[in-house]
């Protein structure tokens, strides 16, 4: 046989899949069992972590793997939230859980279609222009939903209760957000651990060369963009149900867009674990450590992004890894 056996050639991309699956399953079991011992405050922190982690992983599929930084992903969160909220208000007769399920499906489908429609023009742009155009898309989407009475964006829209009888709402949404985050992680992991992962990474590294290797770059970029948008809307619609009442300002938030980027940057771009760790660090930092500075939420995350870019461009995890490598030497 060739050098594969002799030299332990292996891909850094696909890596050690078995170990990661094991870690993932254990993490999921621990998270699922945790509510038994968590205080209500800790439950809320947990929900925030799932929310941020799901969004960050969804963002990272496009931003981290394909290298297309979207500065306006909150557009998909908001559109998903409003699709779910509007639809659920039309469904009266059916049972709450069916309403919940149908709303999620509708939100994800609507965002998938919208993303597919705009994907071609926006993904032709080089990276920095893509970033700013996405910022514009979020702005315009928010304005459209705010200005047309039909969407009820400015006055707000009540999202029906879907929690099954006998279950505490925070318990239900703890598990709902956990499931949403888990879906984001699993879908992203499945996509990037094979051919698609290679295609996206070569696009990030050098798009023209990728084409020369026979990679249909347009198609893979569009795939990543659409799936990323769908996953984002999934988290968004669950979030809408969990807060029960949404306005344009509550779901189209620039700081959501920013948080997705910050989590990925903290944890290290182009991985799945990175954004998850980033979400944990960021949430604990803003909700527990800096809980009193909440009136400066934007400024805090804004400052965080500046600090990370300047001091730890490969993420905090990258920094730790680098330090560990130095110690080993």
């Amino acid at each position: 046989m060739t050098g594969l056996d002799r030299l332990d050639l292996r891909s850094k991309i696909t890596g050690n899949i078995g170990a990661w699956i094991a870690v993932g399953v254990i993490a999921l079991v621990v998270m699922a069992a945790a509510p038994a011992i968590l205080t209500p405050f800790q439950m809320r922190v947990g929900m925030s972590i799932f929310f941020s982690a799901g969004l960050a992983v969804a963002w990272g599929l496009l931003g981290g793997y394909a290298g297309y930084y979207s500065f306006g992903h909150t557009a998909f969160l908001g559109i998903g939230a409003f699709t779910g909220a509007l639809l659920s208000n039309y469904l009266h007769a059916v049972s709450p859980l069916v309403v919940f399920g149908l709303s999620i499906l509708a939100a994800v489908a609507v965002c998938g279609v919208l993303a597919a429609l705009i994907a071609y023009p926006v993904l032709r742009l080089r990276h920095s222009y893509f970033a700013i155009v996405m910022l514009g898309i979020a702005y315009v989407a928010a304005e459209v939903i705010n200005n047309f009475d039909w969407f009820q964006g400015s006055i707000g829209i009540v999202v029906p209760q879907v929690v099954p009888r006998g279950m505490r709402p925070e318990m239900f949404f703890y598990y709902a957000l956990l499931a949403a985050a888990a879906i984001c992680v699993v879908v992203t992991a499945l996509l990037v651990s094979g051919r698609v992962g290679y295609a996206l990474m070569t696009i990030r590294e050098d798009e023209d060369t990728a084409k020369m290797l026979g990679i249909a770059t347009e198609r893979y970029k569009i795939l990543a963009f659409v799936v990323s948008a769908m996953l984002t809307s999934l988290v968004g619609v669950v979030y809408a149900f969990s807060i029960g009442f949404i306005t344009t300002g509550a779901v189209f938030r620039t700081d959501f867009s920013l948080n997705m980027i910050v989590c990925s940057l903290i944890g290290g771009i182009g991985t799945i674990v990175g954004p998850v760790f980033g979400a944990i660090i960021l949430t604990v930092l803003t909700q527990v450590v800096l809980a009193d500075a909440l009136s400066f939420r934007l400024a805090t995350t804004g400052a965080l992004i500046v600090i990370i870019v300047l001091l730890a461009p490969s993420g905090v995890l990258g920094l730790v890894r680098g330090a560990a490598a130095r110690i080993r030497q």
Binding site: G3, L7, L9, K12, I13, E205, T209, M212, G214
Partner: protein, 250 residues
């Protein structure tokens, strides 16, 4: 016709009114190495860009194994079996050597069943086994050039376009690259080379195309072209024998 693998007819390209390529026609026979020579700006790299679909041609046709390439996007051209190694190595910097080559093996020409084996073979043939797990941006220039070839090879090409694969390399590294090109030919891959170094051209080519100002001014065996008065006049300025056939101190 007559079993050529690539047939270029009447190839023309202008940039803002300036004709860079002016009605060039040539054919490549399967399993041969053909070199394109010519002074800077003669249009050598433009020909590569036109064949691989990076640029759209104004007139003419490029036919590869019976199918026209002129309307195809770059990635489809690659899938038909045309690979390109760039003059300036463009490895994916943050990926390992193995992953660089693996990406090519996973895509490239259609119909591959065992990409890992293809990638490993390519790495082995280009002598990169020792650095296979290193990230590409840590490689030496010579290794990067070989990675460029390994990656092109892993797309399982029928035709390899190599743009000055030896530029900037020292004598040993140049010899290595030439050895790789020779193995490629012996495994049946057709090679089209852009090369400045006449020593390399003479040692490796079956045929030579000489270009000047977007026109083909001579075509034939290396010796024929090297002694062509038009080529000497236009390109070299001095007789070849004196300037290039002598061993130059490195």
């Amino acid at each position: 016709m007559n079993g050529s693998i690539l047939t270029v007819t009447g190839l023309s390209k202008s940039f803002r009114g300036l004709r860079v390529i002016n009605g060039i026609s040539f054919q490549l026979q399967p399993g041969t190495v053909t070199s394109i020579i010519g002074p800077n700006g003669a249009g050598k790299s433009t020909i590569f860009n036109l064949i691989t679909g990076f640029l759209r041609l104004d007139a003419g046709d490029v036919v590869f194994e019976g199918s026209s390439l002129t309307a195809l996007p770059t990635y489809k051209i690659s899938r038909l079996g045309i690979a390109r190694a760039f003059q300036i190595s463009k490895p994916f910097p943050q990926m390992t050597v193995f992953d660089n080559v693996m990406a090519a093996a996973l895509f490239g020409r259609a119909g591959e069943r065992d990409p890992t084996k293809v990638a490993t073979d390519a790495i082995e043939r280009c002598g990169l086994l020792a650095v296979a797990n290193a990230t590409a941006d840590t490689l030496t220039v010579g290794d990067q050039r070989r990675l460029e070839l390994a990656r092109a090879l892993a797309t399982r090409p029928r035709l390899l376009l190599a743009d000055e694969p030896c530029a900037g390399l020292n004598a040993t590294e140049t010899k290595d690259v030439i050895a790789v090109i020779n193995t490629l030919r012996s495994s049946g891959i057709t090679v089209l080379l852009v090369e400045h170094d006449m020593k390399t051209v003479m040692s490796v080519s079956d045929r030579v195309l000489a270009l000047e100002a977007g026109k083909l001014i001579a075509e034939g065996t290396p010796v024929d072209v090297a002694s062509d008065p038009g080529v000497i006049q236009a390109y070299l300025g001095v007789p070849l024998e004196r300037s290039y056939f002598e061993e130059r101190p490195q």
